[in-house]
Symmetry: C2
């Protein structure tokens, strides 16, 4: 049997036809722009028809970038796609497709994908951090998706790692995602440039007219720019601080690091692992692997489809 | 039916005879000193006989200040009572008493006591922070005790709240318990005195020959010493930072603050709640109550007894 997985992002809709083993048979993307909710639902409907082709998927899983209400049907708060605020997305897509639908937070389903078909296979207590523009997370407890008392967990991006640090979109300060994210990497790099550090990034900024991405910082590091490498070391250290808190708190057997920023590989993971080790009891540290995601950017659609396979009624 | 609850502390053994509703029928304490493990087991045996009286308890729950192995029987690491390291405490006390025995971390059973018979009754996702000399914690997830992949969770005292802060016994730095604990309160007060703050604590220190306790700091605050009050505000602020991380991460419906230090009441809780509110999404903050423990210092024996009632075989 096949299943549909839909990953609704702030800028892009991605859908996949996925088999019971988590293999993607076909996938497509569309821009997430729409005039209103009805327009967005129409676009999603067309996307799902297209990606289904002549297959007959039996359930649809939907990942949404926001907080999902306890009845798993309504979007309570989607800061990066406000058109969805208050939308009964599950019911609307059920009517549109005739399929049973389950709706969850996108980072939760990303974690579910890595747990069922990626790096986390065989674990029981696993956290997946998705490091992109921001930082999303999903937690697996006793092989089940953990969503908390009202469906809003887990938001590991808002663990405080630097109490007097940068202001965060959540209203707080020094949250993990203000440092460990593409945005955080660029901010850290800019601070260094502004403080007169010797780096090739100064020339990059002149060339791009002031535009800088985390990829540019990584490219500079790979090319031997010591300051650029130190940015990743510093960011990785904060990732490690968060990992130590999470390991001490939850005695996890695995932390999976995914998302676009995880392309930095050892530049990010080595300092993170070193820092986490220095801040944890040996017993709990030794119980936990910190690894890169395996499925990567398609984990969201794989997780959505496999979650629907198991949990749609 | 009645049950025995035993709370093994670093300095004191406390045992209680508890009924199925969590009412303590009788309790006793003994010093935890012993030459060796056999001596400690003998002392515990005598204590349990004494507290049982002519009742016939049907199970024994034991709280241990350390990490308990996955099979729930052996103490892997008890930093404050090293005589227990490696002890198969469950088997030894089973032989001694003839009762079915369950062994868990003391802070976990403290949390279980507050969950079943105290402030946390009726919740589903609850964390109990026990703030004493250090800071212990226990987490309830879906009305079950959460202990993690190898039984070592949860150690909320080792969430990092101040990355470059005080050195912690765990080898890390700036862990929650370096600030939010009796030890942390005294350290914060001493720093202020050393930095020349105007405070009645200077006279207290002269009077005691340099000895200071968190209770003395609280007494000064209650008597109107503004610096002493500011120590609790500062410590409460870090408690709030940790609460915000925990609420954002776990979408809890309650955080219970217990332990000796929680006697500070609003001096500690008000700044904690204010800080947590400023660092969380409204949706998740509104889902969570931050309250004082109800059972208090006997929660450990109540939790141990009620856990044994439900989980001993």
């Amino acid at each position: 049997m096949n299943y549909l997985g839909l990953d609704i992002g702030g800028t892009e809709l991605k859908a996949g036809l996925v088999d019971a083993d988590g293999q993607i048979l076909r996938s497509e993307t569309r821009p997430a722009q729409a005039r209103n909710l009805a327009g967005l639902i129409d676009t999603i409907g067309e996307l799902l028809v297209s990606v289904s082709g002549d297959a007959a998927p039996v359930a649809l899983g939907v990942g949404v970038p926001g907080l999902i209400s306890p009845d798993r049907d309504e979007v309570d708060f989607a800061p990066n796609l406000t058109i969805l605020n208050g939308a009964r997305i599950g019911a609307l897509l059920g009517e549109k497709t005739g399929l049973p639908v389950v709706v969850r937070n996108d980072a939760d389903l990303n974690a579910w994908g890595e747990f069922k078909a990626g790096a986390g296979q065989g674990t029981s207590h696993m956290l997946c951090l998705t490091v992109g523009t921001g930082l999303g997370s999903g937690l697996i407890v006793d092989q089940q998706l953990y969503t908390g008392t009202s469906g809003y967990g887990t938001e590991a991006g808002h663990i405080v790692v630097d109490p007097d640090g940068r202001a965060c979109g959540c209203g707080g300060r020094g949250c993990l995602e203000t440092v460990v994210s593409a945005t955080g990497i660029v901010a850290t790099a800019r601070e260094g440039v502004d403080n007169g550090k010797e780096t090739s990034l100064r020339a990059v900024l002149e060339e791009t007219g002031g535009r800088l991405t985390s990829k540019m910082v990584l490219d500079a590091a790979v090319a031997g720019d010591r300051f650029a490498a130190s940015v990743y070391t510093s960011v990785g250290r904060f990732l490690g601080i968060a990992c130590s808190s999470l390991i001490n708190l939850l005695n996890l057997d695995m932390i999976v690091i995914g998302g676009g920023v995880s392309a930095a590989g050892r530049y990010l993971l080595d300092p993170a692992i070193e820092e986490a080790k220095s801040r944890t009891y040996r017993h709990t540290f030794d119980s936990c692997q910190i690894v890169s995601a395996k499925i990567g950017s398609n984990a969201g659609i794989v997780g959505a489809a496999l979650y629907a396979a198991q949990h749609s009624s």
